[in-house]
């Protein structure tokens, strides 16, 4: 018997996880869908149909919504995976399930990162597709918009689909929520109580240090490649791939620590 990894046991763990958490997961996804629909309804439809807003630029807040809601969903999903390991009453039952730590870890990773991210992306894009299609068909409002050349023009409001407009951006910024979720994943194993809050506080401290660190290293390393604004610590880096690679490396690093902590977890 392979005691490190076995596809049958891995499949059984996935099934067990789904039977125990599938319903909660689907309800959470339903809430996320509700928030997306409500945000679209409250913001876009009301805004576009309001004739008094004709001369105002319609900002695309979908990126902000996608990012914030996605981060929230992913972090909660990541934290839920192993948060029960903080409760002694659940911990022993879970640790004694006949599967290897690697299999348990990978199951958690699948549900908290892969499934959570893909299902969120799917729900967001489907809702966007449905509502933007509806908006394209029914709206006759004119609005000030930014065209492909970056100029502000007045015309029939014809918003692009989120994925069509932001596909590159999604790939680029996806690494950030994944990095954040990897920290929450670690927090769920590292802390024994109030994992989400404690991870959030740790993340805030970490973010502060990280921003300070990046601001100064950016200035030092990319001195001739960056455009600095009035705020000296806010910089725009053209080499986005570097950051994506760094975030992925950091995510893998945090996952590795999570795995080690999971191995060391005591009942």
């Amino acid at each position: 018997m392979n005691n490190t990894f076995n596809f049958k046991r891995f499949g059984l763990l996935m099934k067990r996880q789904w039977l125990e958490f599938g319903k909660i997961y689907l309800i959470s996804l339903g809430i996320v869908a509700g928030v997306i629909i409500a945000s679209y309804g409250l913001y876009y439809f009301r805004f576009i149909e309001n004739e008094g807003m004709k001369n105002v630029l319609v900002p695309d807040l979908r990126v902000v919504l996608f990012f914030i809601l996605g981060t929230l969903f992913l972090t909660i999903a990541a934290n839920t995976q192993f948060s029960q390991l903080g409760q002694k009453s659940k911990l022993i039952v879970d640790l004694m399930v006949p599967a290897s730590t690697l299999e348990k870890f990978l199951t958690g990773l699948f549900f908290s990162v892969i499934l959570a991210f893909l299902s969120y992306l799917l729900v967001f894009c489907l809702i966007d597709f449905a509502l933007v299609s509806e908006l394209k068909n029914t709206s006759h409002s004119e609005a000030l918009q930014m065209n492909d050349a970056g100029q502000l023009v007045m015309g029939k409001y014809n918003p692009a689909y989120f994925f069509e407009k932001n596909s590159n951006m999604i790939i680029q910024i996806a690494s950030v929520p994944i990095l954040i979720s990897s920290l929450f994943f670690l927090g769920s194993v590292y802390f024994t109580k109030h994992q989400y809050v404690k991870t959030m506080i740790s993340l805030m401290v970490f973010s502060g240090l990280w921003i300070t660190f990046t601001a100064y290293t950016n200035k030092y390393i990319f001195h001739d490649k960056v455009i600095s604004g009035d705020f000296k610590w806010i910089v725009y880096i053209h080499k986005t791939e570097w950051w994506i690679a760094l975030y992925i490396v950091l995510s893998v690093f945090f996952w590795a620590i999570t795995y080690v902590r999971l191995r060391e977890k005591e009942g």
Binding site: L12, L19, I92, L95, E103, G267
Partner: protein, 275 residues
């Protein structure tokens, strides 16, 4: 089946709970593990199951090091913790999700145990009473056909008829290949069930002896007057409950509670007798 050698264990920043502990447990026995609060009964069970890690020493459980938590070992261990929480799912779904991890899982046996414990199979696990949950997890654990059964206070929360059922079920669960370890404060619940007594005291195994050996060496009697051969006694309504050296090979029934108290108060005398 279980070999413990020079085990040293202590929780962080606290004095060692076990010092150079040595013990061997074999198949075909039901061991009763006793000790005062905080003596380390649950901790010893957790060490055996690989749920906690010792500072030093070796633990060999069926040829495995339990701290590795290898699936091959885990599927041969049924651990019934004192406190546990079950997911908010129906019994059927729990079976579908967890039973396949145990290759020898006895579905028919599980059904008959559930029936014997009077548990309705159409309930959500989290909606059951504590006693029902306990009976469910015992039924599930025994149905895994695991060779090592570890139970920490299994009779807590069970009503009187359920305790009787528990004793009956446990007696029938013992096979030549199985080793059962039960830790409890409810010594009466294990009457006529255990065949070997393990008592923890002062960071070590103070006594490990079969019921047969104990009753060969000691005699448990109710007497009106004490003589010099008494090892330990407690006053009772009609005189004394006492433990004597069994010099005349008299038959008597083991009183675990009395023996445990004797061990706490007359440790040296008992150690001399059993070593």
């Amino acid at each position: 089946m279980i070999i413990i050698e020079n085990l040293n264990f202590g929780y962080n920043k606290r004095p060692l709970l076990f010092r150079d502990m040595n013990m061997q447990l074999s198949c075909g026995h039901i061991y009763g593990l006793f000790g005062e609060n905080g003596a380390g009964k649950s901790t010893l069970l957790k060490n055996i199951a690989g749920l906690v890690y010792a500072q030093s020493g070796t633990l060999n459980v069926m040829g495995f090091d339990p701290k590795q938590r290898q699936p091959a070992l885990l599927q041969e261990i049924c651990f019934i913790p004192e406190e546990f929480e079950l997911p908010s799912i129906y019994i059927d779904n729990y079976l579908k999700g967890t039973a396949p991890f145990y290759p020898k899982f006895d579905y028919e046996g599980f059904k008959s145990l559930i029936d014997e414990f009077n548990i309705q199979s159409d309930q959500r696990l989290n909606e059951m009473s504590y006693g029902q949950k306990k009976k469910f997890i015992i039924a599930f654990g025994l149905s895994t056909q695991a060779r090592l059964v570890i139970m920490d206070e299994p009779t807590n929360g069970l009503d009187i008829p359920s305790k009787t059922q528990f004793r009956k079920i446990m007696a029938s669960a013992l096979t030549e290949e199985r080793c059962i370890i039960i830790s409890t404060h409810q010594v009466r619940d294990l009457d006529n069930l255990i065949d070997t007594v393990i008592m923890l005291n002062e960071n070590r195994i103070a006594l490990k002896a079969s019921v047969e050996e104990i009753t060969q060496k000691l005699c448990f009697k109710r007497v009106k007057e004490l003589d010099d051969t008494v090892i330990y006694s407690e006053t009772s309504i009609s005189g004394y409950q006492a433990i004597f050296r069994n010099l005349n090979q008299q038959d008597s029934k083991l009183d675990i509670e009395l023996l445990f108290n004797a061990l706490l108060h007359e440790s040296k005398k008992l150690t001399q007798i059993f070593n």
